[in-house]
Symmetry: C2
Subunit: 341 residues, 2 copies
Amino acid sequence: MTSIQKWIYDSRPKGEISPQNYRLVQTDETLAPVRGEVVVEGVFWSVDPYMRIQQSAKDTWEPPHPLGEVQNGGVVGRVTEVGDGTKGLQIGDWVETFMGWRTHGVLSAVSCRKLDPEIAPVSTALHVLGMPGRIAYFGLTEAGKPRPGETLLVSGAAGAVGSIVGQVGKLAGLHVVGVVGTEEKARWIVHDLGFDAAINYCDHQSAGTMVDAFCKVAPNGIDIYYDNTGGYTTDAVIQSMNLRARIIICGQISQYQGGLDDPNTGPRLLHHFLYKRATLQGVLARDFTARMDEMLTHMGPWVRDGKIRYHETIIDGFNNLPKALCGLFEGANTGKMLVKV
Amino acid sequence: MTSIQKWIYDSRPKGEISPQNYRLVQTDETLAPVRGEVVVEGVFWSVDPYMRIQQSAKDTWEPPHPLGEVQNGGVVGRVTEVGDGTKGLQIGDWVETFMGWRTHGVLSAVSCRKLDPEIAPVSTALHVLGMPGRIAYFGLTEAGKPRPGETLLVSGAAGAVGSIVGQVGKLAGLHVVGVVGTEEKARWIVHDLGFDAAINYCDHQSAGTMVDAFCKVAPNGIDIYYDNTGGYTTDAVIQSMNLRARIIICGQISQYQGGLDDPNTGPRLLHHFLYKRATLQGVLARDFTARMDEMLTHMGPWVRDGKIRYHETIIDGFNNLPKALCGLFEGANTGKMLVKV
């Protein structure tokens, strides 16, 4: 018998999410993998903004996360038992899997991605060499269509996705500006990650002054906007974009705490797309799942050689998972937010 | 000496445009075409929603229309004099040209498009076989990427562009729904133009009830939205669009009467683009100027054979040009609004 803990998504948040929306349960279970299955013991759990989207009362890319079930999510852990017919995986192997907020899982072996700790620390499979890295890479290169010398603006630039987007942008020869929420994050993306400039959105109460700020840090205008936040940053970009600009909607975190069900309001600016013959496109990591290897072919060596850097904000203790998720919406993370046991 | 009348764009409208923003001047001039020039006497003048955009105080696709100058715009007229070196044009020829709101113009012959009255009435060079037809055709076929069986929703569906878009959509095998502002226009697009259904936006006070209406007339959801109006119709579409929907921003007429300088507000809905991996693209007729012949190759026979129909709302008298322009924003036109002498 194994003592197992699980976080159950228990009630739909009204507006801001809180740990009260989750319930921790503990059970003793016999973990018995059958043919093709393995047992995984979690070590790193991912918290991601999309989790809050799935708590909207409305269908999004799929129906809302069911109540009363284990919160879904990506996990990195070790294989502790193997059934027959799983010879690709052995006890002790590191894997990345989507087993959610539970300490142990009996999983189909084919749903586990085996990790090579020689390439990079295994936790990177939840960010720079995982789902966030995949959408950062393909979102920028495919939807963004970057050309050397163009200007890229990234919102949520110190987040798990934004911090990678900016660095891939630099490798693609772009002038890169990041929008962040603290001075410390601004310093990090410029001094450690090599962004050309940073803007702290907290210095601006509205789109108007942000447009002025863009003129200074992006004097040639904005060709590509990789948006993780939405809100008035997007309003300012729409008024600062160049002819044939590309806007990539990867996230809208400023809208998630209630705004998905009861929308915030903002200025109607779609007429600018007409003037600039600009394009806006939504992207989702799952559309590129089949191209994971292609992403790793590029990003693996970049991470190994230090051309792409990352930072992990690690919260200790499985107990703290809901608190860590809530922290995402307060900007508590620099780079990737992870929970570790 | 020829007695010439001109409408001067005299003052910037604050909010709603009115004839007070124009001034009529009359002069006697000697019209003397030099080498390569012709004299054109106008017969049909076009009024177009873009004219109001150019009266915004801000740069759009070009700087604002200068004050104190003749209002620009497309005109169909007859050649009354020719200089040397214009042998492509002869006295009596019909031409379409961008000479603006004046009764006569001395123009470079190469700026005039010679018309063949055998193909269609010459006034069509200002709509179905002119600029509005060009953006309707290329906006739908290139930005819309229609596939047979998909659903197309068109706003401003009884306007010069929208009425063509819907008919090209039917020829492309689409299910076509038009949004209009009167019951009479609804009947026209369904009974005369062959749209599958019409919605009168005046029956709806908000996006919410319009979403319900879309469910009835577009039961398979919306794949392509060709937007000429913006406003809450667009809000409703964003909440009704299918996976990988394409939104084409061709016009935003609901925003032009002041909203360009002092934006209206509406709900923040960009997160839906993420869920649906949808695309939004602004289009402008001038991007397809070089492909006019290609458009005419398709549209000319369709118009000749009655596969594409049109309607002209003709206002008599050069004196009435500003009044005709203002009428566009009150929905006074069915199909193309023209002024004729």
